[in-house]
Symmetry: C2
Subunit: 406 residues, 2 copies
């Protein structure tokens, strides 16, 4: 038997299910494939033998995955042990592959997941397994090495750019000085925050962008704000959750706001920290929002380019597996930005695993709070096109496929 | 000369500009009308004689208002003084009306704004002014009396229902107990939070809804959560910003989280307060978002019904003014929910001003954390239909009309 197994891992994105649909539909269509399995909750679910068989699922529900956000099979943050320290786990994993006659294993995920698939592809040979392990990229963070951009990033960026363009108009309705702050994801790399230069070009906001790559200080913030206040009354700030002080400490760990009166660790974020500074130290009215999980599930504002590319990366991934590309990741290269043109390819996963791709210096303007034309041209194509989402009663008709414990 | 003046007031909504477009386009089309003015920043702008003349504006920009969120003319929170205590302000106002030959004055706003227009309509007679004052309703809060529902509410509700349906799928990706909290607007009335029963019907979330109308306690919260945990691992909670303890105090004022270590008042909300409780007292992982201004500017997820009704309430408002309905508000009545059918009408503003409409008891289920079928049928029609928004480079093309100081 030639069976297929696919699983999802890491943080969800709006289009990680589109990649899943790409793999599964291509595999179901292949006359050389018998069963197409999905593992619930990533590699943990494989070890627990917690499977779904897509051959038994209504094909429409698989197709609906293309416009269903988040990880339909569930996810995990589990990191495999070191092979030398715990061979048993790997032997178990490959014995499960053997029992299920898994010829192709696909793991849809980010940096950590690519490390998993990289190690499995190496150990497979050592354990004389014939299973071919292929990675399918995903991450809203856009920090995957070896690929022009990551599926999920474009949709996340589009949702955030919409949010800025719309909420900007709310930020200036009163004839009163104010600062509006939007906190976006990006723990170490500032791609998401940087991509708001699209809104900037379009409507003039955000005025200031604070990225993890650029050391943050309250003095600089105050100086930057006062500079903008010279020409306008209402400032719009975007800050990455991972903005850091020069000493490398996240500003969300700032001790002045970290604990409540019980001494409990407070839930706070970069947004809250700088809002408190703006309000208490500068005496200026401020509003703010931390988008949190909304930015990685906002399918209703997804980028069509992103949804299609995620699907094609899944579909091509299946073809690479059939070609025997063990230890490779499905990838894409950009041929040109204007007009936008890409090609699909595959690259050795060892070029991807555990490497974080940071924003290039050349994307930053002189003050390091704005993005250059080069950056803008990189980002703009990625948010193009609107997705037609099937509806029932005016609400999105998502796939009924869900993690097993839901 | 027969001139028209229109202004916007109070908190913005996604469709307050659609009402503005309705008034302005109808007035510009009327052969008996000479000039159509807009006042920037509400009634304050009238007193400062800060005007825009719509006759000089590109007609396309007026039409784009229909799909441009927030208050294009700006807004104010200014409350007129008592007439007996400060006649001068009113004499100034009406002398400005006289100078500009304002025959019809329109104020687009909520409770407070309707109080303004009510008083102006009464004082107009006293000061022998011929200006006819008409109110156009708006508020995402849906707490206006005398009208079936308020323009802005449907779009706000749709945005939030989308947000829940999408982020729900993010809330259950890990095989781990968790509580996801979404804070929505509604200081005194819980209409917005209650309308999330649409998502509940569709996808099972939110599990629990906490409204300002129902006294809140941490004991009840814990009991409610544990009840839901009996059947599922991941709970989704919606809470109104105005949720209150039995003593009437907002839970966002809870002293245990109110101050940072400087003793400064902390920016916090109901979401943060209950998240801290869930994390620290119950030891359960929690994620949360306070939607803040996003829910009142999310035009990209607006309800077509809402956009059209807002426009028609503006357009009809102009006709009521021409009929001499001084001191009236443009309104609508619902004839049936299934199929949805409404009629336009006008009502005396005295029935609206300073009255808050609360959620009916009959909309609440036994535990008061869910909504009855009667409530669901009231809410469902209001979020129907998608709005076609003109685009440039994949981003919304909003009207260029903006407050004067922007």
């Amino acid at each position: 038997m030639n069976n297929v197994l696919v699983a999802q891992s890491g943080g969800p994105t709006p289009v990680i299910n589109s990649s899943l649909a790409g793999v599964v539909l291509e595999a179901l269509n292949d006359k050389d494939v018998d069963k197409v399995y999905g593992a619930y909750y990533g590699i943990e679910g494989v070890l627990k033998e917690n499977f779904l068989c897509f051959n038994d699922v209504d094909l429409d529900e698989v197709k609906y995955l293309k416009t269903t956000p988040s990880s339909a099979l569930g996810s995990c943050r589990y990191k495999l042990p070191k092979y030398e320290e715990d061979k048993a786990t790997f032997e178990k994993l490959f014995s499960i592959f053997e029992k299920l006659e898994i010829k192709y294993f696909f793991y849809i995920g980010g940096n950590d997941s690519m490390d998993t698939i990289n190690r499995l592809s190496i150990i497979a040979k050592e354990l004389n397994s014939n299973t071919i392990c292929v990675g399918i990229p995903k991450t809203i963070d856009n920090d995957l090495n070896g690929i022009d951009h990551s599926p999920g990033f474009g949709s996340c960026s589009k949702y955030i750019n919409y949010t800025i363009i719309e909420s900007l108009r709310d930020s200036f309705v009163y004839d009163k000085k104010s600062v509006t702050v939007l906190e976006v994801m990006g723990r170490n790399a500032g791609w998401i925050a940087a991509s708001t230069c699209i809104a900037k070009q379009y409507c003039g906001a955000p005025d200031l962008i604070y990225l993890p790559e650029v050391p943050f200080s309250f003095e600089k913030l105050e100086k930057d704000l006062n500079e903008v206040f010279k020409t306008k009354n209402n400032v719009y700030v975007v800050i990455s959750e991972g903005a850091k002080f020069a000493n490398g400490k996240y500003i969300s760990e700032d001790e002045t706001v970290e604990r409540d009166t019980f001494g409990h660790a407070k839930l706070s974020g970069a947004c809250e920290v700088i809002q408190n500074y703006i309000k208490n130290e500068m005496g200026i009215t401020t509003k703010g929002t931390k988008l949190d999980i909304l930015q990685r599930s906002g399918m209703h504002a997804a980028s069509l380019i992103d949804v299609e590319e995620a699907f094609e990366l899944g579909r091509h991934g299946f073809e690479y597996a059939k070609e025997g590309k063990n230890g490779y990741m499905s990838a894409l290269v950009r041929n040109s930005s204007l007009p936008y043109n890409i090609s699909y390819t595959c690259i050795p996963i060892s070029d991807v695993a555990n490497i974080e791709k940071f924003l290039p210096e050349s994307f930053l303007d002189e003050n390091k709070t704005g993005i250059t034309r080069e950056g803008f041209e990189y980002f703009l194509p990625l948010i193009q096109g609107d997705v037609r989402i099937p509806k029932v009663d005016g609400l999105p008709r998502h796939s009924t496929i869900k993690p097993s414990n839901v």
